[in-house]
Amino acid sequence: MTDLRASRDLARPGTGLGTALFLLGVLGVLAAPASLLLGGSRPLALALLALGAALLTAGLMLKPARRVLSVSGRALRYALLTLGMLVMVFPFFWMLSSALKTAPEMNYFPPSLLPRNWLNFENFRIAFEKAPFARYFLNSVLVLLGSVTVTALTTILAAFAFTRLEFRGREVLFSLLLSMMMVPFEMLIITNYQTIVRVGLYDSLWALVLPFMSSIFYTYILRNFFQSIPAGLYWSARVDGSTNWVYLWKVMVPIARPSLVTIILLNALASWNSFMWPLLVIKSDLNRTLPFGLYTFTTEVGANNELLMAASSVVVLPMVLLFLFARKQIVRGVARGGIKG
């Protein structure tokens, strides 16, 4: 019924006057911000906007051609999406651009959008001189590799056990684990801190890795995926001679690869960005990770925003690269999780 009406509408020629008024209106509305940017006065812009809107409404009432409407609708959609993208990307752009500016450039008013010299890496050099960013970077990488690898392992093993191994109290145990997810991280911080101090790992990289070697949430996600793999596959493999161990690594893990990649990426991101915990358990400069190092750097360099931006770029860049390379995997993982592939 609705389809029929839509096609009739599409075939409708529309009035020439309506189309003309509508297009003029669009032009007027677009001209308003343009006139502002070109130095026009505010009343002029407002007048243009009002006139444009009036023309647009009049045109709509006179039924412009359907094609014109659908094209302008699409244009509007893209305009909104572009706007959203600009809002998201601008801070990153500003960070990179500022990192390449000199100190005087930073203080221009109105601020300049682009750096004068695109190859001015001086800020990076200074930042790396003022604080051991290379060391922070290495620490971050070590902590990330440690916690992500071990978490992936424990997650896979736990998810498998909760999916395929038969043992007494399996479901109860799993519900118990899930209920622990309700405990906020901030509450665990105190006990974790005490534990770390007692075992003598305070102010060491181990303190950053040890509490993050398993994850209930990721186990839950992976278990859900594992459960969608038919039991027939498991028994086929068992009959074919594989043990649980072989089945897990040769069949289940390859099938769950998209989910696993998503989990690992999310985990890497969380590890890379973690700030609060390092702040608590790390004291010496050489054991700081990037976010923490950046924080202390802020207080040291004070108003030198260009140095701060250079340092920030170094912190953010690896994760941006990681995302760019693994984008397909992330999207596929999320989509697969949704439709139970």
């Binding site: 038919p230 027939g232 028994w235 493999a237 069949v251 390859p254």
Partner: protein
């Protein structure tokens, strides 16, 4: 390989899925486990595979007790109803997987896989992924994968029920051919009596977890041990006339009677079912003690014969009759009974008198 099941029993909580089940399957045979759904046939198969642990009883493979052996040590091949192919591997990868696990050298692995692919007519599609195959092709791959490790026993769990009718017929013959070429002892689970009748050497018919009869298909059809077996096999289903046994006669509730075959001597007054297959009636000229005076209700043409719907002793029944007579509804006819396909069962116990 000879498979012996002795007093096999399986309880799931309070329910008894398989009850004191004892059967011996001969070497190189294709045996069907047949029965209505929920009769425990799949449970038996899974116990043979080692997937479901046994509550009581034992399983012997060529005299070796495998009751407590895990699946991977039993030397069996298994094909599931949904084929259970590994979705991330190619056809080749799927077939070589069991050999990879057994650490067979790569070259031999491939050789044997190619041999198997030939056997199941899948040689041209070795690099496909399972999702690029039709149901029948997936089925072939699943069979090749089950056979490539040269199992002592091949287990097929309702392998044809996911296929459409035409493909089912084709795969049924394929399975028979593959089984005869490899001579592997095979257990085939199905609820389709026609499927079971057409491909198996022996049929094991089950009901409510208990063995009913274990015999050759034709024996099962011609010599059912009880009412259930007679009812389960045959299409159209066997005709059952309720009544009593009196003085060598079967007497229907309305007094209609027919003399029982010689040597058929149920206890006097026993409540029985006279069970007659549709093809076991003959059209006779006149009345006789051994003939059933029946009334034709309707007639259907089936080509070479006529299928008639008739009534005797208040019971409606079906009979295949020669088309030569040109029967019409309302005709009174006298039907004789052949020796084959005529049984007398106890109505309460289902036990067969003759």
């Amino acid at each position: 390989m000879e498979v012996v099941m002795r007093g096999l029993t399986k309880h799931f909580g309070p329910t008894v899925a398989v009850d004191d089940f004892s059967v011996t399957l001969g070497d190189g045979e294709l045996v069907c486990l047949l029965g209505p759904s929920g009769c425990g046939k799949s449970t038996v198969l899974n116990m043979l595979a080692g997937i479901i642990p046994v509550t009581a009883g034992s399983i012997l493979f060529d005299g070796e007790d495998v009751t407590r052996l895990p699946p991977e040590q039993r030397g069996i091949g298994l094909v599931f109803q949904n084929y259970a192919l590994y979705p991330h591997m190619t056809v080749m990868g799927n077939i070589t997987f069991p050999l990879e696990i057994q650490k067979v050298p790569p070259r031999e692995r491939e050789e044997r896989a190619r041999g198997m692919a030939d056997l199941v007519h899948m040689s041209g599609l070795l690099s496909r992924k399972p999702k690029e195959l039709s149901g029948g092709q997936q089925q072939r791959v699943a069979i090749a994968r089950a056979l490539v490790k040269r199992p002592r026993l091949l287990l097929l769990d309702e392998p044809l029920s996911n296929l459409d009718a035409r493909l089912r017929l084709e795969m049924r013959e394929e399975i028979r051919r593959i089984q005869q070429e490899t001579k592997v002892t095979t257990v085939f689970v199905t609820h389709d009596q026609e499927e079971a009748m057409s491909i198996s050497d022996h049929i094991v018919l089950m009901k409510e977890g208990r063995l009913q009869q274990h015999d050759r298909p034709q024996q099962l059809y011609n010599q059912p041990v009880n009412q259930f077996v007679a009812d389960f096999l045959g299409n159209p289903p066997i005709n059952n006339f309720p009544g009593e046994a009196r003085g060598g006669f079967f007497v229907a509730p309305d007094g209609a009677r027919v003399r029982l075959r010689e040597g058929c001597a149920p206890p006097e007054g026993a409540r029985v079912n006279l069970s007659v297959r549709a093809e076991s009636f003959t059209l006779e000229d006149g009345p006789d003690e051994g003939r059933m005076a029946s009334l034709v209700e309707s007639v259907y043409q089936t080509g070479k014969e006529e299928m008639a719907l008739l009534r005797f002793g208040g019971t409606e029944f079906r009979a295949y009759l020669s088309a030569d007579y040109g029967l019409k509804p309302g005709d009174a006819v006298h039907l004789g009974l052949k020796d084959r396909g005529v049984f007398l069962f106890d109505r309460a116990t289902g036990e067969r008198y003759c």
